[in-house]
């Protein structure tokens, strides 16, 4: 006998993500989910973003890592609440994991939550977390061909940060090729070239984000 199901495979994840999205909206909290490879400068980008926006907004950070809490410690050292999620081997965050972290935070007091997903350009793309935007970070040393190798993450992202642009002269990075590949994949996403540790270019990215946080 044939049984028609027409059931989304990630139904449980998506339902929980929808609940989170409602909670975020109710408290006017904007949530941005950062996707990137290990070592691309996610934490440095978060620190630079905090620096740029902390005067205007109350910010919290949720750190997703397979193990350790080194990233959360760096954030807390800046006086910003940070919750560490250890996925224990899982290659991406799911909404059930995010919910446990969100439950620890006082949403009523927050304007912006920055989620640092597990360092991975593949798996996190298929999971809705209830976030307002997914933003990906690619760093120059990773190479200009990444949009061709990992199209999925470039497609689901609402904006693309190109980090470590100060190293461009050292690496043979073709910025025109990179930007045109990103535009083919995701014509609407703005590209923000930054050097997070130098504070270079951060202003433009931060003002793009700030505009959205104010509307949340």
């Amino acid at each position: 006998m044939k049984i028609d199901l027409h059931k989304p495979i990630l139904e449980k994840n998506d339902a929980l993500a929808a609940d989170l999205r409602r909670r975020f909206a109710e408290h006017h909290v904007y949530v941005v989910d950062l996707l990137a490879s290990p070592g691309s400068g996610k934490t440095s980008t978060i620190l630079a973003t905090i620096d740029a926006l902390r005067d205007e907004f109350n910010i919290a950070v949720i750190e997703g890592d397979i193990a350790s809490s080194v990233d959360a410690e760096k954030i807390k050292a800046q006086g910003i609440p940070a919750v560490q999620i250890n996925t224990g081997g899982a290659c991406h965050l799911e909404s059930a994991m995010l919910k446990r972290a969100v439950d620890v935070l006082d949403l009523a007091r927050l304007d912006l939550i920055i989620v640092e997903n597990v360092g991975n350009l593949v798996c996190p793309t298929d999971f809705d977390l209830g976030e307002n935007a997914k933003v990906m970070i690619l760093s120059v040393p990773e190479g200009d061909d990444k949009p061709l190798k990992y199209p999925g993450v470039f497609q689901v992202s609402d904006a693309v940060i190109l980090n470590k642009v100060d190293t461009m002269p050292v690496f043979d990075f073709d910025r025109d090729a990179f930007e045109s590949a990103v535009r083919d994949l995701n014509p609407k996403a703005p590209i923000f070239p930054i050097a997070a540790t130098k504070g270079q270019g951060v202003e433009e990215w931060a003002s793009w984000l700030a505009e959205r946080v104010r509307e949340a």
Binding site: M1, L5, K7, Q155
Partner: protein, 121 residues
């Protein structure tokens, strides 16, 4: 390698539906998977074989229908097929396009063996 997680979700839903229907075993599971997702066909088959062991779905055939990407141009209304890499409208060149197909992760249907099926034969 998130296919394990995807398939464990599939098996939860499939085994529950099969049990609800009073099935003795699942013969086939039909999935629709969009080409724009990061789910790899081979890895899905591998995960299915590994995780279905000892469940109603053990030995069932996993049939995966890959769904090709399609987008709608928000500027000129043209709907067009495309590959994973190009989403600019071929008719008017606009960047303002919206994906209408290609991100599916869906259990379309299942085939089950009911005790009654044998009696009818």
């Amino acid at each position: 390698m998130h296919e394990m997680g995807i398939i464990s979700g599939v098996l939860d839903a499939v085994n529950a539906s099969a049990a609800d229907a009073g099935a003795e075993r699942v013969l086939a599971v039909n999935l629709r998977v969009g080409r724009m997702t990061e789910a790899i066909e081979d890895a899905l088959h591998f995960a299915f074989e590994a995780l279905s062991e000892g469940t109603l779905s053990e030995g069932a055939e996993l049939v995966i229908q890959m769904v090709e990407p399609r987008s709608l141009c928000l500027a000129c209304g043209n709907e067009f097929d495309h590959d994973r890499f190009h989403r600019i409208c071929p008719a008017c060149g606009s960047y303002e396009t919206s994906l209408v197909a290609g991100r599916e992760l869906e259990i379309a249907s299942i085939e089950v063996d009911l005790p009654d099926d044998d009696e009818q034969e």
